[in-house]
Amino acid sequence: MSQPFAKLPAWADYGLLPLINLIVAFLVAGLVVLLVGESPIDAAVLMVKGAFGSGDGVGYTLYYATNFIFTGLCVAVAFHCGLFNIGGEGQAYIGGLGVSLVGLWLGNFLPWWLTFPLAILASALVGALWALIPAWLQAKRGSHVVITTIMFNFIAASIMVYLLVGVLKPAGSQAPETRVFAEGGQLPGLGWLLNLVGLSMRSAPLNVSFLLALVAAFLVWVLIWRTKLGYEIRTMGFSPKAARYAGISELRIIIITMMISGALAGMMALNPIMGAQHRMQLDFVAGAGFVGIAVALMGRSHPAGIVLAAILFGMLYQGGAEIAFDMPNISRDMIVIIQGLVILFAGALEHMFRPSLQRIFYRLGRAKNRTAAAVIAGGNQ
């Protein structure tokens, strides 16, 4: 270990290393595909074709990506502060309450462009409040935010089941879901956007919340890298001691960061509820909060990386659904494996390939120096 390591150039650190990790994750996933007796290459071709082969495929891919951008940003903002918010799932689930209340009530008499901003506020507020208690416990009582957010996921799920089989269910209905929202509670689709690039979308639920997700990604970039608050958040993440020394209030930063994180998760609820189903169903989050962890790790907590990673996972979701038609042995659960492998290789094992990569760059650098030195020495003689 005493060997001096070359510092990796930025393109290797932010491009090559994540790519290697991703490739290894996919290779291992390919092994699982082999194990169930299918061809990984055929599966990959089917997946890409299913995700990008048609207007509807693209629509679905971006629809799923919308969810993952929100949840990925949620995890990333907390990461920058050195916090691990596993509670995106629960915050998004509870955020659905805010969306539904606006959709059920104001959707009756306001047009969508008025309900939309109100629903954004409501979902963000509810999500933020759900993150407030774990944040407060972390900041004030030192109880680990990971544990409390896990607990809050389960508590959120219990509350939502209770509400959806009880109060929120219309009388006489069996399905655990709210009634369908009126016109004003439904977001318009983005068919025109795909038409611009010559694709046509018929049934895919891509809607304006995709644009909101992109705006949110940009705003998160501004927040983290262009504001004083963002600077404080990053300082806290790098070194809580330095932050304390600089007079940054730990309590304030942890609570604000977690509430922003929760608000981003809460806004995810807009996409499936107001954008696609026009009602709130049981378990509408469907694991998107957890996908956010993989997305944030893969995107290295940078909004641009997160948008790309979210689209990749959107492709996996949509393509995975298509694969299931042709390869009955591969269901959507394959994505859960890939998600786990990405978290493992891009997250927990992110340093596995770094030393060898650094050694290669060090050798390359030394070889270059040596030839340069030889040339100089040759010139002197």
């Binding site: 270990m1 194990l35 109880s143 896990i150 219990s158 962890i293 394959m334 492998l341 493992l344 997250g347």
Partner: protein, 323 residues
Amino acid sequence: MDSFTTILQLFDSTIRLSAPLLLACLAGLYSERAGIFDIGLEGKMLAGAFAAGAVATWSGSAYLALLAAVLVSVALGLVHGFASITHRGNQIVSGVAINFIAAGTTVILGQAWFSQGGRTPSLPNAARFNPINLPGAEAMRGVPVVGPLYYELISGHSILVYLAFLLVPFTWWVLYRTRFGLRLRAVGENPAAVDTAGISVPWLRYRAVICCGVLCGIAGAYLATAQGAGFVKDMTAGKGYIALAALIFAKWRPVQAMFACLLFGFLDAVGIRMQGHPLPIIGEVPVQFMQALPYILTVVLLAGFIGKAIPPKAGGVAYVKER
């Protein structure tokens, strides 16, 4: 007498329901006492349950199933160790990854191998761990109070339940009365001191992770071959997290862990029994509230309202040898 029987049955199912929690909780105890946080209890248990279900189907032997469950769970534990000990990765991220890998793989392989929608075929009794009637249980049944107590409550569980509860004093003994236990606790509090004493920190932590894997495997085997008859998709259903909650509740101590698991098992048993039975005064308590109660209690504990839970000092931090 009737209410006495009801209470006995309630406690009986409490024991049954808390056994897997207890196994997983003790598993977490070994790992976390050594300074390796383990969110992956859930995944290891799930993978163990699947391995047990699959092997029991093929071999018809419950003991081979148990062995397979332990092996698979230890393998996942070693992945966790490889990431968090050898490569000093984030322990929580690694645990989360293991949970997803287990959740996805069990369903995909289950569907490919057995084509029953991710579950393994229903096991015959010969391939399961069946209830054991302790000696004298039948004979003593007639004795008032003590007889039913012995017959209903203590006798008639599978061997894995007895194993789980025997592991409590055993773990206490290992932790507080053996050299290994002392070092295990030391490495979770102050790994540098252990290193200075000339003991390998990674090897010690790897052994802790293996202990954790063994116990999670037993917990999984219990779910698939004793409590249930075969593996069902997502059969752990959050038990790994409840075990984690119990571990915090017990402040990382074995005997208290048993009581915490019994409490959470009891809540579960009461929740099941109370479905559709309104209580006096309060009325009907929603099932969801009973299900959420362990989590709520843990949060309240973490908030510091019931004493303070202080985790092992070096928990979650990878050890870097001084140079």
